[in-house]
C-alpha cells in the first residue's frame, strides 16, 4: 500500500540528488567529494496548481526540474509525475509534460518558427486537427502571427521565449515546467508571458511549476511558493507568509528637492532610512505593508520630487530567513 494523496499530481518523497565531483588537487591527484544538489526534498503539487519554485543560484532548482523531466535520475527517494517514474519512462512521460528552459531553446535556430512547430507535430504525434487548433490558439494568445515565417535567429529574446512556450504546449501537456521563463525579458514581454500563463492555468487547468529569480513572477502568478536553498526546502506556503517568515523589506527610493537630514517618521516606526546620497534617500519598510500611506506621509512633510519602490530580491529574503531562524 502506498500512501497517496488523491490530488498529488507531482509527488516527491525524500528525493535526493548527489553528484560526485572530482577536483584536481595536483599532478595526477584528484579528490572526490560529494555534492548534495537536492537534499531530501518532499512536496506534492495538485493537478491544476501553479507553484513557484525559487531559490538563489545553485540552490538545486534546475536539478529538481531535470529529475521531474527524467533527464536526471534521483540518487534516493521517490518521485512521481502523473503516476509515472520520470527517469524510468522518460519517453512516455514526455508526451504528457511540456518544458521551457529560459536559457535554452527547443526551436530550430536557422529556420522559420513554423518549421519548429511542424517538428513538434510529428515528434509528439499530435492529431492534425488538434495540432491546428492548438497552434492557432497559441499564435493568437502569444501574438505569434507575424513571427511564424521569421527564422528563429532573427527573433528578439521575448519573441523567442513566446515561441518556445508555444512549442511546449502544442501537445496539450498536463504539466508545464518553466525554468526562468522571464529571464532577460523586458517589462512588456514579461507581463505578456505572465498573462498567458495565468490564462493557460485558469482555462486549461494546466499544472505549472515555475522557477524564477523574479519575485514579481511569483506575486502575479502563484498562490503557493516553495523556497529551496542548498538543496533543502526552506519554505512551502503562500507568498505573503514568505515575506513574514523572511521579514523581507521593500525599499522606497525618494528624490527630494534638496539634500536634507535622514527622513524620520514618528508615526511609522517600522520604517528606517538606510542610506542618504545627496537629495536621494533609501527607506526600508516591511514588504507586507502597503507603500501608499508611507508615500502620503512623506509627501506631506517633505519636498518630494520623485520616488520608486524596489521589491526585495530572493537572496535578501532567504538571508533574512536564516537570520530569523537564529543563524542556522
Amino acid at each position: 500500500m502506498e500512501a497517496q494523496t488523491p490530488t498529488g499530481f507531482i509527488e516527491l518523497d525524500q528525493v535526493e540528488k548527489v553528484f560526485d565531483v572530482r577536483r584536481k588537487t595536483g599532478f595526477m591527484r584528484g579528490e572526490r567529494h560529494r555534492v548534495r544538489a537536492v537534499d531530501s526534498i518532499s512536496f506534492r503539487v495538485a493537478r491544476g496548481e501553479m507553484v513557484g519554485y525559487i531559490g538563489p543560484n545553485g540552490a538545486g532548482k534546475s536539478t529538481t526540474i531535470k529529475m521531474l523531466t527524467g533527464i536526471l535520475t534521483p540518487s534516493g527517494g521517490r518521485l512521481r509525475v502523473a503516476g509515472i517514474d520520470p527517469s524510468r519512462e522518460r519517453t512516455r512521460l514526455a508526451h504528457r509534460i511540456g518544458v521551457v528552459f529560459g536559457q535554452r531553446t527547443t526551436l530550430w535556430w536557422d529556420l522559420p518558427l513554423r518549421d519548429s512547430y511542424r517538428l513538434m507535430h510529428r515528434m509528439y504525434r499530435i492529431p492534425d486537427a488538434r495540432y491546428r487548433e492548438n497552434l492557432e490558439r497559441c499564435v493568437e494568445l502569444l501574438d505569434l502571427g507575424e513571427l511564424l515565417d521569421v527564422p528563429v535567429r532573427q527573433l528578439s529574446l521575448g519573441q523567442r521565449m513566446r515561441g518556445d512556450i508555444a512549442a511546449a504546449l502544442l501537445h496539450d501537456p498536463e504539466v508545464l515546467y518553466l525554468d526562468e521563463p522571464t529571464i532577460g525579458l523586458d517589462v512588456v514581454s514579461k507581463s505578456r508571458v505572465r498573462g498567458f500563463l495565468r490564462d493557460l492555468n485558469a482555462e486549461r487547468g494546466t499544472t505549472v511549476l515555475l522557477t524564477t529569480h523574479d519575485l514579481t513572477d511569483i506575486e502575479q502568478l502563484c498562490k503557493r511558493v516553495m523556497v529551496i536553498d542548498h538543496g533543502r526546502l526552506m519554505y512551502d506556503g503562500a507568498l505573503a507568509g514568505l515575506h513574514e517568515v523572511g521579514e523581507s523589506e521593500r525599499t522606497l527610493v525618494v528624490d527630494l528637492e534638496r539634500q536634507l537630514p535622514p527622513i524620520r517618521l514618528e508615526s511609522a516606526p517600522s520604517v528606517r532610512t538606510v542610506k542618504v546620497e545627496g537629495p536621494r534617500q533609501w527607506l526600508a519598510f516591511p514588504a507586507s505593508e502597503s507603500a501608499a500611506p508611507l508615500v502620503a506621509r512623506i509627501a506631506a512633510d517633505y519636498p518630494l520630487v520623485d520616488l520608486s519602490v524596489r521589491e526585495p530580491d530572493i537572496e535578501a529574503v532567504i538571508a533574512k530567513m536564516y537570520e530569523s531562524a537564529g543563524g542556522m
Binding site: 540528488k17 553528484f19 560526485d20 544538489a37 536539478t63 531535470k66 523531466t69 527524467g70 533527464i71 536526471l72 535520475t73 527517469s87 522518460r90 519517453t91 514526455a94 508526451h95 518544458v99 528552459f101 535554452r104 531553446t105 527547443t106 530550430w108 536557422d110 529556420l111 518549421d115 511542424r118 517538428l119 507535430h121 510529428r122 515528434m123 509528439y124 527564422p151
Partner: protein, 266 residues
Amino acid sequence: MRLYAVVAAGQFRRFATYRTATAAGVFTNTVFGFILAYTYVALWDERPQLGGYDMSQALSYVWLGQALLMTCSMMGGGFEDELIERIRTGDIAVDLYRPADLQLWWLAGDLGRAAFHLLGRGIVPMLVGSLAFDLALPSSPGIWMAFLLSVALGVVVSFAIRFLVALSAFWLLDGAGVAQMAWLAGMFFSGMLLPLTLFPGVLGDVARALPWSSLLQVPVDVFLGKYPGWELVRAYAFQAGWAVALLLVGRMVQSVATRRVVVQGG
C-alpha cells in the same frame, strides 16, 4: 518515421538558407578542382595508368572528390560541431527529454544536409570539371544510380564516424582535438588527397579496408565502373557493413553517455 523525415527536410532547408556560403563553397571547390586536376595531369603524364586509372579516370576522381567533399563531410563540416557544442553547453538536456532517438535524429538531419550539399555543392564543380577536362562519365543510367546508392552509404558511414567523434565531448571538455584527428584521418583515408589505389603494399590494403574508404574511394570506383556484376554487391556490403557496425558502436556509446549524464549531471 515521419518525424525523421521532417528533421531531414528541415536540415535540407536550413543549409539551403546559407546562400552566400554555398556560392563561396562552390567557388572554392572549383578552384581546388583545377589545382588538383593540373597536378594529376602532370603526375599521370609521367606515370600513365598510375593506380589503375587512365588520365580521364584520374581527372574524374579529382572532380568527384570536390563534388563529394561536403556531401560525405570528408573534412568535417556537418552536424558534429553543433552536437559537440550542445553537449558542452548542456543544451543536450533539451534533446534528451524529447520523445525522439538521439542518433536517429542527428542521422536524419545529416542525411538532409548531405542531400542539399550533393545538389548545392556537387553539381556545379562536376559540370565545370566536365567542360574543362575530358572526364570518364558513365554512359549508362544504371551506373549513375549505383553511384548515388554508394554515395548514400558513404554518407551514413561518414555520419557514424562523426557521431562517435561528437559523443567524445561527453568525456572530454573540448572535443576539438578529437574532431581534428578525425578530420586528418578522413582527409587521408577517404582518398581525398590521393586515390587509395596508389598506396603500395600493406599501407594500401589497410587504407582500403578502413571505413573512410567508403566516403570517396568506393563511390568513385563505382562511378568509374570498377565493380562489374557481383563486385558491386561486395562493394555495397563493405560500405553497409561499416555503416551498421559503426552505428551500433555509436548506439552503445550513446547509451553509456546518456546514462552518465542522467546519473552524473551535465
